[in-house]
């Protein structure tokens, strides 16, 4: 009898264990997810910010009908204007300080990286004088102020500067925004970039670490067949055939050395998206040239995502990083521009795709502060963190808060941690503290139109409690903006959270 009783107890126990072992999280009431802080995938260099000042050759004569219409509506009667897309020129000192705090301050986004463009107007003729100030004063003011605040809180910035486009004289077309590099002007182009880097480092004291060769320069479709610009809404550019990229990867480090910039690394420029970098063969060209690989200091690409097939299709893809890291394992990869999407949860999902599928070490979104009337034809990527209006006001947009959910969790020096989530509308991003003073942190994204219970299993963290912050963008729900929603305790090795529709929640270990 006693034995029978014992057997029954064991059976009851087994049946309980059976149900628990085979159930989805919390007995089919929650999405099972996980963060393995003990499985670091990659170094994390940080999130970034990009202030865009001068981006076009401003000319109302050029452009398709819709651009002409834009001129009539936004700049009636004007044939030209002094472009200042970031909008600092409209703000007073107090407003500027507020924005710099919002971005770089201890309670702000806390980016670790800044991108600065080198526009096409710093020199007009071979050997001519450089004017690095006129078209960059507000961008540099922004970065100088940001660096100061960043250093004041004990951190630092890494700056990448990207050739947006060269002066017309450097092109074969000898025209503004000509398509092709004149081979005779190769050294002039190198000096154009070098003088700018020296200026930033020596005059402004900015920690420029990388020089990037181009901004979407792979796209040979953006000119007329004979190489001229027929649309004024195109931003600066130059066509960079893969062979030309390699040529400059090998050439620039010698020039850096010659001009005392040994500490500056060269990158391959920035294709429009990871698919182009992969399928267009740009990664292969570099990998096939040992000297180019040896000289490559950082791999860069834009990470714009488009999931429908067509000319702009762009998936997240790690192929270039994979083949180049096979040759140079220490190579880091940065996304140097990516969309703010709808400034919602899908924006953070794109960040997830860039981190986990494209395998990057850092992300800098497209222009974080924008003055809409100063992008000719209207910015095709109008999302941002902050918008400056023509009346001198600024607006902190929801993109700021969604970005903050990611940027504060992923501080420079942390490690990307492996994650999973058994529902494709839920994405999880994890950052392990590694050697930094930051806490282990993870981000849960809910893309769905409905609530989702999520149970996040954690391993490899010492934290037993997590402080959580939430941003929400969904009809019928309060618009939380990086709102502290309390402390969550580990239960059975997992943190349980009811995710509101269109929400992102960031958890910081305590």
């Amino acid at each position: 009898m006693k034995q029978l009783f014992l057997s029954m107890l064991i059976l009851i126990g087994l049946s309980f264990q059976t149900i628990n072992t085979f159930a989805q999280a919390r007995d089919f009431t929650a999405v099972r997810a996980g963060v393995y802080f003990d499985q670091p995938l990659r170094d994390w260099d940080g999130f970034g910010f990009n202030y865009v000042e001068s981006a076009h050759f401003v000319n109302s004569e050029l452009g398709p009908e819709r651009t002409q219409q834009w001129w009539k509506e936004v700049h009636p009667g004007e044939k030209t204007f002094t472009q200042e897309y970031g909008g600092f020129s409209l703000l007073d000192e107090k407003e500027k300080q507020e924005i710099v705090e919002l971005v770089f301050g201890k309670d702000g986004l806390k980016p670790g990286i800044v991108k600065m463009f080198l526009d096409a107007k710093h020199q007009t003729e071979p050997g001519g004088a450089f004017d690095h100030e006129t078209t960059t004063s507000h961008m540099r003011e922004f970065v100088r102020a940001g660096l100061k605040i960043t250093r004041a809180r004990g951190a630092d910035l890494e700056i990448i500067t990207t050739l947006y486009g060269p002066p017309g004289y450097i092109t074969i077309q000898k025209a503004d925004r000509g398509r092709d590099l004149d081979p005779e002007m190769k050294e002039d182009l190198a000096l154009y970039m070098i003088d700018w880097v020296k200026f930033l480092k020596e005059k402004d004291g900015l920690p420029v670490k990388y020089l990037s060769l181009h901004n979407e320069g792979e796209d040979w479709h953006r000119w007329t067949q004979d190489g001229y610009t027929d649309r004024g809404n195109h931003d600066f550019n130059l066509y960079w055939p893969p062979e030309q990229v390699n040529e400059f990867l090998k050439y620039m480090p010698k020039m850096f050395k010659k001009y005392g910039l040994e500490g500056v690394g060269i990158t391959n420029g920035e294709p429009s998206n990871w698919y182009r970098f992969t399928g267009w063969g740009l990664g292969d060209f570099i990998a096939d040239d040992k000297e180019a690989v040896d000289n490559l200091a950082l791999l860069t690409s834009h990470g714009f995502y488009r999931g429908t097939y067509g000319a702009w299709f762009g998936e997240h893809n790690s192929y270039p990083s994979d083949i180049l890291r096979a040759l140079k394992p220490e190579l880091h990869t940065w996304v140097t521009s990516t969309s703010w999407a709808e400034m919602d949860a899908s924006f953070v999902k794109q960040i997830h795709g860039n981190i986990y599928t494209s395998k990057v070490n850092a992300i800098i979104p497209w222009a974080g502060i924008q003055r809409p009337t100063h992008w000719i034809g209207g910015d095709p990527n109008p999302g941002n963190a902050i918008q400056v209006n023509e009346n001198g006001n600024y607006e902190v947009r929801k993109g700021y808060y969604f970005y903050k959910q990611a940027s504060r969790a992923g501080q420079p020096g942390m490690k990307v941690a492996r994650t999973f989530a058994m529902n494709s509308e839920i994405a999880v991003i994890g950052f392990a503290k590694a050697e930094t003073d930051n806490p282990d942190a993870f981000i849960v994204v809910n893309l769905a139109k409905g609530k989702k219970n999520v149970s996040v299993e954690l391993s490899g963290t010492k934290s037993k409690e997590f402080e959580a912050f939430r941003t929400v963008d969904a009809a019928d729900y309060e618009a939380d903006r990086y709102k502290n929603i309390g402390t969550f305790k580990l239960k059975d090795g997992a943190v349980d959270i009811e995710m509101l529709p269109g929400s992102v929640v960031t958890f910081f270990g305590k």
Binding site: T21, F22, D180, W220, H221, Q225, Q244, E247, W280, S346
Partner: protein, 489 residues
């Protein structure tokens, strides 16, 4: 004399007839037969017979439609799929439905619900052997018998742990039947068909949710996949089936395989790594984040496991025919080059639409069988043929480049196959024909014979002539909405 740099050479190539500016003559395409990146096991075909019926006696489902065709028609279809001038598929997928056994240790009936599928494969195998080819068959557990589930119902959600051994025996009995009775070259057994999707049942698990659209299924947690791979491997070995490999089942898409924890679970379990014989997943693509069906062509899971077992091949065991157009071939391109697979089997290649309860959510196919006993060869057949003929078993996937996203390129080197070096140019554009400057390396061929299919349906794998390679370059203008396959002469 100054050293002529590669940049200088480039400029010389671009500057045609001393023009003032470099003239871009078209899309720059490179086909590198000398850069073989992966073994290719072939393209496949899947005949689906019994998929949804909760009670076979009440509804004898026969989705493939062979039961409606006369012998002449069946022979025609077989010739179109397996014949020397047909698709020449190398892979076949055969489902294993839940009606082969009703109780633990009970007798097996492997015939009643599989008659037409087996007839199709039997005829296909004979046809393939006739021209000297061979087939590689994978069989997939669609769903287990009711008694193996906790719910004790057909399409019950949860595995009853008391019946794990019965399930492994169930798999092995079918494999032995196919190999010994039918003499089919079954080389892989796959544990499930989209069994990762725990949301296809009400969350209390009571209702099997069958009879109004869902096909067979069971929920497979990552831990269960590992456990059953190990157990099935052992039982296969014990049954003398050491050459039959176990696969981890087939998630709905590569994203789920990579990021739902399945690949991680396998990669972190030494016994599972030892047991796995082939990576399998469905390759359905949905690029938008708008709902839970998002699925990109993602190689993260495959690469994670290949780190532990580099020789592993990966197959797509189901993928959409989409709109049976150029974009469908782009999906194939992305399964090959982004998901990094070694074989592709699309979803049901021959379909009898009225027999899918609720209407098939993937209605593209190569053939449709009508209720009047006729059949239709759809344009999906011809677009598929553009890739199946060059991608024969034993060929090698080669690296390709194209600096136009609307013009993806696939290439297969001959390898040990009976095909030739071949490449496929797709133009997805609806508006622009695409002049292509195709630089070809690593082949001895000086000319290529080309065949084309277009969305206008005026060309169906039509021979369009021979193109010469001059100085390593082949010039070709790809019409809008077309796929062109070039075979080395």
């Amino acid at each position: 004399m100054k050293k002529l740099t590669s940049f200088g050479v480039l400029m010389l190539i671009c500057i045609i007839t001393l023009a003032q500016y470099p003239v871009i003559k078209g899309v720059d395409i490179k086909v590198k037969f000398d850069q073989k990146i992966r073994d290719w096991d072939g393209f496949g075909f899947n005949y689906v017979e019994t998929a949804q019926t909760p009670d076979y006696n009440e509804f004898k489902q026969e989705y493939g439609g062979f039961s409606l065709l006369d012998e002449n028609e069946k022979a025609e279809v077989i010739d179109l799929v397996f014949g020397e001038d047909g698709l020449k598929v190398g892979l076949v997928k055969m489902f294993y439905d839940p009606f082969h056994q009703t109780e633990p240790g009970g007798a097996y009936d492997h015939e009643t619900t599989t008659k037409y599928m087996r007839e199709f494969v039997r005829m296909g195998l004979a046809k393939t052997l006739e021209w000297g080819g061979g087939l590689n068959i994978i069989t997939t557990l669609y769903g287990p018998p009711a008694y193996m589930t906790l719910q004790k119902k057909i399409r019950g959600r949860d595995m009853d742990p008391a019946h794990k051994g019965d399930m492994a025996d169930y798999l092995i009995s079918w494999v032995k039947f196919l190999r010994e009775k039918e003499k089919f070259p079954v080389n892989y057994v796959s544990l499930h068909n989209e069994g990762e999707d725990w949301e296809r049942w009400p969350w209390d698990g009571e209702d099997p949710n069958i009879g109004h659209g869902h096909d067979y299924n069971m929920y497979w947690r990552p831990e269960l996949v590992n456990e059953m791979m190990v157990l099935t491997r052992k039982k296969l070995d014990d049954a003398g089936l050491k050459n039959v490999g176990v696969t981890p089942g087939e998630n709905t898409n590569w994203y789920r395989f990579s990021y739902w924890g399945y690949a991680d679970a396998i990669a972190s379990d030494k016994k599972a790594i030892q047991a796995i014989g082939l990576i399998t997943s469905h390759g359905f693509f949905s690029g938008k984040y708008e709902n839970r069906w998002f699925g990109d062509h993602n190689c993260m899971g495959t690469e994670l496991i290949r780190e532990k077992k580099p020789e592993l091949h990966a197959w797509v065991t189901s993928t959409s025919w989409s709109k049976m157009d150029t974009k469908n071939i782009k999906e194939m391109h992305d399964n090959i080059y982004s998901a990094r697979v070694n074989g592709i089997i699309p979803w049901a290649g021959i379909q009898r639409p009225v027999q899918w309860v609720g209407g098939d959510p993937n209605p593209g196919s190569a053939f449709t069988v009508n209720e009047d006993g006729s059949y239709v060869i759809r344009r999906g057949y011809y677009f598929y043929k553009q890739i199946t003929r060059p991608g024969q078993p034993g060929s090698k996937v080669c690296r390709t480049l194209s600096n136009d996203t609307q013009v993806p390129v696939i290439a297969f080197a001959k390898g040990t196959s009976d095909s030739e070096d071949a490449f496929i140019i797709t133009n997805m554009s609806e508006n622009w024909k695409k002049p292509c400057v195709i630089t070809i390396t690593g082949t001895g061929a000086s000319s290529f014979k080309a065949f084309r299919t277009n969305e206008a349906e005026t060309e169906k794998f039509k021979e369009i002539g021979t193109f010469n390679v001059e100085n390593g370059v082949l010039f070709y203008e790809a019409p809008v909405g077309s796929v062109t396959t070039f075979f080395a002469q």
